[in-house]
Symmetry: C2
Subunit: 631 residues, 2 copies
């Protein structure tokens, strides 16, 4: 199936033009060649298919392939081409080095699709296709998350509404009504009874006190952290007052919307290792606190089973293909600040079994290595049990120059000449950022290859300066890669370097132990990864730490929510900052996902559209039936 691209144009066309000019191969054939049986596949059209987790079980005795994570130096707001490199490297491994390969990347939100142009399927001659389907509905996973998230929200408000107007006795009676003369608890109710230590299974047997404890969750509305979601940029929904309708009896409440990919259910999809594991995680999600300070979960609300039913198809990764016919798994796309920013565990696990001992799985971690890679190692690999073989660190001349003090880079504005002409002084100054990330990656005991993602304005001197610095800093190699303009061919040298890195000894280790106190875990990350002098906690954060440790959440890993524009907490600090103290404003709990997330700044979980977003241009050409105006 894998095939070298031909007829590439020197004047590289737009992403959508390249993607639409390609004829995707039938995904059924790609899947068969990858070793998937037809009965393990569910087609979604002819170019997308969901892959059953049964593959992993069937190949349990197969050895895993090589596991490569693509990360980056601290990027500019434009991004430095991690996904493009991930796809290009995969194309090189599969179509040029004849290796078995699989690319595992995130499904993007539709927020950016209709806002500021820029797809998430890679770019140039290194893309996942069909890119329109990749950037639109996919196989519906994000829609499933939206509705599951919002059913839970509706269920929370339903419970508040009914508890407010009913006595304990009436509430209990209505929660356990007689059907054909028989009252019964649902399975989720039996779980709640167990949590309450009530060892009874017949609703008739509970004492009035037990019935009241069971029936009244007594949620404190002011503590509810569960928000509704929508998969578009809807800034006016950031803060809303609900219940203002005439039938809602004045029971208004302040809440708001996040973009769907910020939902805890998205993080769970990425971290769940099986359907039963997903069921348990959904049940453990904490939506708020009771008036007596007890965490209230989705299980208590009674709809964790229903959420699992809504999410059961989403748990199956989606197979698509690259421009050179290598298989790609698209699965989950959690935020990289308030969540861990990595594609799913199950996709990686399936892929590693499918490619086998001599094969390669290339996955990507969001933002820079201080964020996405750290979380890949300490959260994702911890929950998956998988051991990475190599880190690919993407660097660009442009980003390194910003770290050397180059002028500010702003999306939509032309680049300064500092970036389009050779400037070795700026570059040299900025190499500290590269060194920091190489040092950080090496701490985990995994070989590092630097990929210099080529721009046509880069000069040989600039590339050579980066290469030398990278190797001196401990990288196995540093290779210029021109996959954007040349597809897999352009990444062949990079692929060879990665193959060599995977052959080296590696000795993967986590950065911290889970059983350390919360503060100690945070401090290890801040000092070791960010180079901070220390950490300061707000009063709120101190209270939250005490509460989480009291409630048994202290053993979770930390998922730092911080800017991606600096290794530090401060987006203005470029290069390899020193002499700063990290302020922790607040710490939130994502108990279902299985992490706590300290906030090091203000994180927007709902973007807005600019005055002329992409939706003005997106349409269908009725002559050809093709989408136009997208990217």
């Amino acid at each position: 199936m894998a095939h070298k691209l031909e007829n590439m144009l020197e004047d590289v066309p737009s992403d959508i033009d390249i993607a639409q000019a390609a004829t995707p191969l039938p995904i059924l054939e790609i899947a068969r060649e990858a070793g998937i049986k037809d009965e393990e596949l569910e087609m979604y059209g002819w170019t997308k298919a969901k892959v059953s987790l049964d593959v992993r079980e069937r190949l349990a005795d197969q050895k895993n392939g090589n596991y490569i994570v693509v990360t980056a130096i601290t990027p500019t707001p434009l991004g430095e081409g991690k996904t493009t490199t991930t796809v290009g490297l995969s194309q090189a491994l599969g179509a040029h080095l004849d290796k078995k390969v699989m690319t595992c990347i995130r499904q993007p939100s539709m927020g950016p699709t209709f806002s500021i142009k820029g797809g998430a399927a890679g770019g140039g001659y290194s893309q996942v296709i069909p890119m329109e389907e990749f950037n639109l509905h996919g196989t519906g996973d994000i829609h499933a998350i939206s509705i599951a998230n919002n059913v839970l929200a509706a269920a929370i408000d339903t419970r508040l509404f009914h508890e407010a107007s009913q006595s304990d006795e009436a509430l209990y009676r209505r929660l356990t009504p007689a059907k054909k003369g028989v009252r019964s608890f649902s399975p989720s109710m039996l779980r709640r009874l167990k949590k309450l230590g009530i060892d009874k299974t017949n609703p008739e047997d509970l004492t009035a006190e037990e019935a009241a404890r069971f029936a009244r969750l007594d949620i404190d509305p002011d503590t509810i952290t569960w928000r509704r979601v929508v998969d578009c940029n809807d800034r006016m929904m950031r803060g809303i007052t609900i219940g203002t309708g005439p039938k809602e009896k004045g029971r208004t409440r302040e809440t708001g919307f996040d973009i769907t990919v910020a939902s805890e259910i998205m993080a769970i999809l990425a971290l769940a290792t099986s359907l039963p594991d997903m069921r348990e995680r959904l049940g453990r999600m904490v939506i708020g606190m009771s008036r007596s300070g007890v965490p209230v979960t989705a299980e208590d609300i009674g709809c964790a089973g229903a959420l699992t039913v809504l999410m059961k198809d989403a748990l199956k990764p989606t197979m698509m293909q690259t421009l050179e016919g290598t298989p790609a798994m698209i699965h989950a796309g959690p935020f990289a600040n308030i969540a861990h920013g990595n594609s799913s565990i199950v996709a990686d696990q399936i892929a590693l079994k499918l490619v086998g001992e001599d094969g390669y799985v290339v996955t990507e971690a969001g933002f820079g290595a201080d964020i996405g890679m750290e979380k890949f190692f300490n959260i994702k690999c911890r929950y998956s049990g998988l051991v990475p073989n190599a880190v690919v660190l993407v660097a660009t001349v442009r980003a390194l120059k910003t770290h050397g003090g180059g002028p500010k880079v702003t999306p939509g504005k032309p680049l300064d000449r500092a970036y389009t002409e050779e400037n070795l002084e700026l570059l040299e100054e900025g190499l500290s950022n590269l060194r920091a990330h190489i040092k950080n990656a090496r701490m985990y005991g995994v070989p590092v290859v630097v990929a210099i993602n080529k721009f046509h304005t880069d000069t040989d001197n600039e590339v050579e300066m980066i290469r030398k610095a990278a190797v001196e800093a401990g990288a196995v190699d540093a290779v210029m890669s021109d996959h954007w303009a040349l597809g897999g061919l352009g990444a062949s040298n990079l692929a060879e370097a990665v193959v060599k890195a995977c052959e080296m000894e590696s000795d993967f280790k986590f950065l911290y132990d889970l059983d350390l106190p919360i503060k100690e875990k945070i401090e290890i990350i801040c000092k070791e990864m960010y180079n901070a002098d220390g950490v300061e906690y707000s009063e709120k954060a101190e209270e939250q730490i005490a509460s989480y440790e009291a409630n048994g959440f202290g053993g979770l890993p930390m998922c730092m929510a911080k800017t991606h524009l600096s290794i530090s907490h401060d987006p203005e600090l470029k290069g390899w900052p020193t002499g700063f103290t990290v302020p922790i404003r607040e710490i939130r709990a994502s108990v279902g996902s299985g992490f706590l997330y300290p906030l090091l700044g203000t994180m927007s979980t709902m973007p807005g559209y600019p005055t002329r977003p992409a939706y003005y241009d997106i349409d269908i050409d009725m002559e050809t039936g093709q989408i136009v105006g997208m990217f």
Copy 2:
């Protein structure tokens, strides 16, 4: 493919038990046998597939099959089994009478799925399978509507937000920014220019006055009728205040959420006849008025093209199958009060071509014949150009007894003895309702067959009384049908009567001409269909009528939004009410769908969950992987 059901149990199991016990045939084979080519099909798993509209074009020269609409007498709140009859009749035609047949029904909302138990896939041994997939995500059409609806909502608020803070000149500049030095209008902007009578295509050429007129929609926030949607029962979202977040500068606005199936985009999906037609309808949707009283459309907002892109896959009907292996098309599910309550035009058109001259397409119209059938004829058939051959009017002993003065029937409560024992007096009294609907259906010149949907408590005397009355009132025949307990076998006599009815002469005509004034159209419906003495208009309705006629919307058909529990506007008036005047509270415009909808009462467009909704019971059995607790 069509096959008679075997091993039916006398003690009919639950719907989900019957559905899960059946092994669906590969939908690819069913589609091939129906005459669909592989390249016209997109698989969604192995039991669902989307069908391309190309089928209709390819078979354009083929004669249409027989077109049968299933409707009902005025139902109880429990429903009288229209879908079950539709499916059972199809199974009888296909598996027992060996006819080519296709069932065209609506996709249900997930609101009821997680609220009060009751699927929409039929019931007993007459179901569309897999019923879980039918009642959950399907092929994602409703999700596409949700996001399209909400992107438009976000775009409206984005425009309000940016217009509020920018001068005409800045607004125009930001709407037409230079890209690589060139400013350009998007296709949707060119459409707006045309509407404004500005015949220029270069942004540089507009005068300041033209630029201001183009750029400033000047929407009056109080006139915005476009609401957001979610596909679950979320009563606290009926009324909300948005924009309360700190960054939204106090620009709050009152609005609310409807359930997704109440979105105008759902009605458009059901009525669009092609992709270009859907594009035009989406563009025509009126979202509110400018301060100078001009209707503002989705086209003006600039995102009709993007909505079309989001909806392009949803326009393809989904093929599934019945328990007896006959093909079913599942497509669109608009409300039957504020919209027209019928499945899609394109599914019917494709199905009629596929079954061919000697085949049968069985579709269903929502609520009683006074609502769904009237709209089927006057709205759906008017836009499709299709001519129906027969009406099947579903009646039950239970519903007829309520019309005879039987005690109130309430969901979740046991039925009164009047309904479970023979009671010929009540029944006789209630037959007036049956007579009214037969008379109404006959008005359209189409033969009527009454289907007496059998309950095990019905007696032979009761069935015979209905039969006689139906034939006397002008029905071709009235046949007891036991498809719930026996599948197609139980509906064989009904199927034979329907085949005979289709062989009869029919002379289909609309009830009113579109070019009549709005009031006259309303009065014809109220007098002819509802038997009203007359119509009264509120002051608001009078104003709206004047405004719609002034804005060129007067030529649209009327889509009456009224109770389904009476032929009149008053749910308490049972049987065949006389001597009442219909009050028109308000008239709303669904310009994209292509109808006006007069409100004859308060229509809830957002249901709420009860204290113990179905989500408490819905879960996955981790041993078998099957869904439990659903229905």
